[in-house]
Amino acid sequence: MKSNRWGYYWKTLSSSKLGLFGLSILCLFLIIALFAPLLAPFNPMERVGQPFGEPSSTFLLGTNDVGQDILSELIYGSRISLMIGVIAALISIVLGIIVGIVAGYYGGKVDNFLMRVVDLVLVVPFLPLMILLAAFIGPSFWNIILVISLISWASPARVIRSQVLNLKTKGYVEAAKSIGTKASTIMLKHIMPGVIPIALSQFVMAASSAILIEASLSFLGLGDPFVKSWGTILYYAQARGAFLTEAWLWWVLPPGLLITTLVIGFAFTGYSLEEIMNPRLRKER
Amino acid sequence: MGKTVLSVENLSTFYKTDKGISRAVENVSFTVEEGEILGLIGESGCGKSTVAQSILRLIEYPGKVVKGKVFLHEKELISASEADLYDIRWSEISVIPQSAMNALNPVHRIGEQIMEAILIHEHVSKKEALDRTKVLLELVGIDRERWKSYPHEFSGGMKQRVAIAMALACYPKMIISDESTTGLDVLTQSQVIALLKDLQRKMNLSIILISHDLPMVTSISDKIAIMYAGKLVEWASTDDILHDARHPYSRALLDATPDLINRDKKIVSIPGTVPNLVNIKSCCRFHTRCPFAFERCKVEEPELKEVKPGHFAACFLEEENHELTYTS
């Protein structure tokens, strides 16, 4: 039945045009990121041409202020954006699962406390907080991930908790309790599998917002200056006045479009995943 | 012998599934006379509710009535037009649904809901409809002034009564009760059963009582029809079913029912499971679980035959004059 279930997911996902579209975008970016060294014409860290070069046959999207090829920057940048998105989303989902399951399963005071923390995280104005955090602990690849994870676990935690509340009333959970199975085992063996589908769709959503947050942080100059993400490219473009000249066409627009496309890819996949998971869970009840 | 009100002839209703055609109801025939209570008995999935839906033409895709006729006072329902059916439902035949909670709209007064049923089907004034509503409520044992109440103000048993009153709104000659007492508490159930019996006497109603609860049905039915896996296996007077059941399945059902008086009776379950009705081939559908099955049962379908006046059974043992004794 397990393999059947995934087969079923795939069938439903592929029947949704939106999901399929999103998924192909993601695959495309994954390929670009994986094969960046083969696809990029130059090393993005190397000065290969004149600074502020306009697009030409060698430099398809021109060069930046220090003469690095923008196209290669963008291709390598997909690695960073994807990596930050996926890692940050993974951390926040794992956090969300733990908090959601513990809060939902134990209920009472534990639940109350954890949910108030969640509320707190949800209502804190996140951009100022992140700027503060990023500025405080210093800009670096891992710090960015940490900052993003810290603020994005709360909403998955809440969604997962409500699913746990539903699972908790299932006969088999009660049966396991009356057998004398340990609470940790019950959570792991009986509750966790029921949470995974929802967590999956939450993960995709979290990844798309993580990418967006990373871009905004980097754009504000709070990113890791030694790592070239799309946000960093935008930051330099802005700092060097590309927004005011016609260079925005090849320096600003491409990274912006890439960010939008990737986020849309994640969002579409996430929406259709959610569509699949929810009716399925309703059916199982 | 009274007048025949409803006669079902060779009714077959099939469902389309991914894996083929599910023969959910096949060749079911029976009649109901005026003022008669017929208990239609069977376990879950045997097709008893499908029979009821087929009679009222409520089968929806992927299901279809593929064969058979249903006569209600000479009128044939299976070939009738939607408009004719519309007149017939409620005014001549109506249903008490399984769950009264779902049948009643929570945002309207119960009286208004009954009135609506009357007004839609008959050309009477609002006043007349309201008067009749009050009479109906009284008939089912609810205070007539409670027509103003909303469904949530009633308990489960009371809602069931309202559902009965609604089914009676246009004074039909026949009602079908589809598991309408399932889920009610024992005492409430006995109230509803007593009410149905009472109505049958007062209004000379014919009732088809669909249920899985054999003891409950035997307590009020004049006749009993037993279904198994989409087929009618036996149809006889209640007395005959209890004392002279001919079909092995009927006997097995009786043997599986505990007896309060004779408490030492060892109840026996029926081994095996119900066959899958998708693309089922021609055979006695009970043969896989029947202790008396022989070769013929596996290849041929027994027809419902009159084994003695008014007593029908679909079993080859009758024809072959086998005795129903266990041979070990």
């Binding site: 039945m1 397990k2 299932k170 006969g171 088999y172 009660e174 049966a175 396991a176 309790k177 009356s178 057998i179 004398g180 199975t181 340990k182 085992t185 063996k189 009986h190 599998p193 029921g194 199982e284 | 376990e43 879950s44 308990s155 489960g156 048993g157 009371m158 508490d185 024992v186 005492l187 409430t188 159930q189 006995s190 109230q191 007593a194 899985h212 609860d213 054999l214 003891p215 409950m216 035997t218 307590s219 209640t238 007395d239 209890l242 059902l253 009786l254 599986a256 029912t257 505990p258 007896d259 309060l260 008086i261 408490r263 060892k266 109840i267 026996v268 379950s269 029926i270 081994p271 499971t273």
Partner: protein, 341 residues
């Protein structure tokens, strides 16, 4: 036959708080789901609790099985009070008391194979058993519940089994640790008649073989009479009558029991044309009476019934009843039992 008592429940209570009134003037009222329930079960006995839905029978079992905390009272199992026991000690006790649930479709995890479902109790309580020993035990138990050959079933998922087979697996899971006590909460109410008999017989069989003591919850008097040595009748959270099955059915004394016995449908009700006692009204837990919970529906009410809660009084060696009117001239013995005397 006075065997040692295995389980004793003393004045067990469960209250829920019902909030009502307006936002500014909140009103809290205690609603008794279970009120002062006391009974005991001897070793090897099957006690049935019978009552309508919402009468508190399931709440009682859930408290006994420690799936819910009591508001008040004592539950003595083998002399040990289960109330207020630490989680660790409760887990130890669970090894000896297991439960069978009502819904066989809900009680088995759909994502687990039967073999893993049956292993679960062993993992929880027999950490020293090797994998082979555990598998052997699972196989034996599966065969004991008449799913033969066991290998055919062990690798399946629950949805590949019929309702009756699932309930058998649930029973196997309950007996695999060889407990001394089993609580069964309406184990057959969701099954077809033809399957029901098999499950009931299996439980009786297991009781013979394993010397089980059982608490059997049902709403169906004929099932209870088939299964139980003694029956406790519950109404609105209290036991109104308790006694040997034979006595309860032939000589019911509480008016509620009388009504239940009179309306019970079995295959004789058609022939016998027995007089049924149809009570008016329905259970209404929102109304609070000072006296007997049954008073609004009782045909024999007296002044005292409205003011004083009747307590469970022993009327002979094997039967107790909670009714003020017992023995009073108005009531006498029921019609049916009179005929049988």
């Amino acid at each position: 036959m006075s065997l040692p008592t295995l389980l004793e429940v003393v004045n067990l209570k469960k209250t829920f708080v019902r909030r009502s009134g307006s936002f500014l003037k909140p009103k809290k009222t205690d609603v008794y789901a279970v009120n002062n329930v006391s009974f005991s079960i001897e070793k090897g006995e099957i006690l049935g609790i019978i009552g309508e839905s919402g009468c508190g029978k399931t709440t009682t079992v859930r408290m006994i099985m420690r799936l819910m905390n009591e508001s008040n009272g004592k539950i003595l199992f083998n002399g040990q009070n289960l109330c207020g026991l630490s989680d660790e000690k409760t887990t130890k006790v669970r090894k000896d008391m297991q439960m069978i649930f009502q819904d066989p479709y809900d009680t088995l995890n759909p994502g687990m194979r039967i073999v893993d479902i049956l292993m679960e109790p062993l993992h929880a309580h027999k950490p020293n058993m090797t994998k082979e020993e555990k598998y052997q035990k699972v196989k034996e138990t599966t065969e004991a519940i008449e799913l033969i050959p066991a290998e055919d079933f062990l690798n399946r998922f629950p949805h590949q089994l019929s309702g009756g087979q699932r309930q058998r697996i649930a029973i196997a899971r309950a007996v695999i640790l060889e407990p001394s006590f089993i609580a069964a909460d309406e184990p057959t109410s969701m099954l077809d008649v033809s399957v029901r008999a098999g499950i009931l017989n299996l439980l009786l069989d297991l009781r013979e073989k394993m010397g089980l003591t059982m608490l059997f919850i049902t709403h169906d008097l004929s099932t209870a009479s088939y299964m139980c040595d003694r029956i406790a009748v519950m109404y609105q959270g209290s036991i109104v009558e308790i006694g040997e099955t034979q006595k309860i059915i032939d000589f019911p004394t509480h008016p509620y029991t009388k009504a239940l016995v009179s309306v019970v449908k079995d295959l004789n009700s058609f022939i016998e044309n027995r007089e049924t006692m149809i009570l008016d009204g329905e259970v209404d837990s929102t109304k609070k009476t000072l006296g007997c919970a049954f008073v609004s529906r009782c045909p024999h009410q007296e002044a005292v019934c409205h003011n004083v809660v009747p307590s469970l009084e022993q009327i002979d060696k094997v039967q107790s009843v909670a009714c003020h009117c017992f023995g009073s001239s108005k009531m006498g013995i029921s019609e049916r039992s009179g005929a049988l005397v």
